[in-house]
Symmetry: none
Subunit: 237 residues, 2 copies
């Protein structure tokens, strides 16, 4: 087990347990290095992690302080999320209408986005997801077939992400997302109960495995009044 991770986990749990109270100073890096019997660089790396998580903030000459992070973790956040809608909206009834589902070959744009060749097949899924019976989001999704294998309509009607994570065991490493507004398309009008003049929020994303291989490209469209994305960002020094 990595030392800096062990130390970060230990300090984090002490913060959560209240052993290091909000606004309190942590022991300095030299003391922590002695305590954990590691070098100071390793302690610093552990604290870097906590700082990136927004638990702690540091200032030269002043020490390292526990942040009252009640501010930051008001979890209505969506922008950085990999649980999928099913987990996000638990407690509500989510159903999926599959409009189209097939296997095809990617055009050039998609080849670039997913870093695949022209003859590497992709699944194409067009579905509408309903929350409590009402249309909520329309998604156009492409999965690299060799990675997300054996996709079936039965899976699509439930949670794709549960299947990807639990059954395939694929580990998500990150995502690239682009958010913009758009005018309603014909599909939007038909499936999201839009007028032609209704603004739509679209999120494009490419999702990567831990090893950097992309496995999904999707566009998700919502009516302007049903969804917003939040981002909490803490600058590292």
């Amino acid at each position: 087990m990595l030392k800096y991770k062990v130390i970060a986990d230990d300090i984090r749990s002490k913060i959560q347990a209240g052993e290091y109270a909000a606004e309190a100073l942590l022991p300095d890096q030299v003391a922590l290095a002695l305590h954990y019997e590691v070098s100071r660089m390793t302690v610093k790396k552990a604290i870097d992690i906590l700082a990136m998580e927004g638990l702690v903030y540091r200032k030269r000459g002043m020490g390292t302080r526990v942040l009252k992070n009640a501010l930051w973790n008001q979890n209505d956040s969506l922008a950085l999320d990999y649980q999928g809608l099913t987990a996000q909206m638990k407690g509500t009834a989510i159903t999926n209408d599959i409009i189209e589902f097939n296997i095809q070959f990617p055009d050039e744009a998609l080849q670039n986005l997913l870093m695949i060749g022209a003859n590497e097949a992709v699944y194409y899924v067009h579905r509408v997801r309903n929350v409590d019976g009402k249309p909520y989001v329309m998604e156009y999704t492409y999965f690299v077939a060799s990675l997300v294998h054996d996709l079936t309509p039965a899976i699509l009607e439930q949670s794709i992400y549960d299947y990807i994570k639990a059954d395939i065991g694929l580990v998500i490493g990150g995502a690239y997302r682009k958010i913009h507004a758009d005018v309603a398309s014909d599909d939007d009008c038909q499936y999201l109960a839009c007028e032609a003049t209704t603004p739509v929020l679209e999120v494009e994303q490419v999702v990567y495995q831990k090893n950097g291989t992309p496995f999904e490209y999707s566009r998700s469209r919502n009516r302007f009044d049903t969804r917003s994305y939040t981002i909490t960002d803490i600058i590292k020094d």
Copy 2:
């Protein structure tokens, strides 16, 4: 200047210039350390930054590769950005039309967002920012007057963020942002050359100092076809 930052900037510019092509291997860390005449740890820290920016991807035993999509977002605004439009759009002519500017007391919602009391004054700025003479974004901004002091119309016509960072010396610690689509308002129609049916992208944000104190709340509105936001998110272990 910090060595690892200089190196990261240098490599980034070489990627953008095509000197390191997409999918190409970077020189290994030992070679880079020799070339920049620094230790390998310092090179690694520089590459850490590029990896966090999503420009580069590494694997043990395989080297460091430039990601194919490293360049696909050059024209979008980063969702995580604090340079302000003036720095973001350098090379273009930015002018600011001030529509309204005054000092006022915050309503209850604003008191909560900025964590201030009812009798702590705020500056209110309503301005339209033009890029190359054409209206680009309309902003409604509130600054905590005790933190962003001595704001004047002359400053507003240029870059507020330059003033905040260089003159006041306020250190930005992070931001909370919400992105959503909206229908055009009367102001949008008047100042952004919108029709009543034009979709608008709005970004609300609260910007915090390093010590956690909020100093700005703003809403920025763009026509749907003039701006999009991108987020690169890499999950840490």
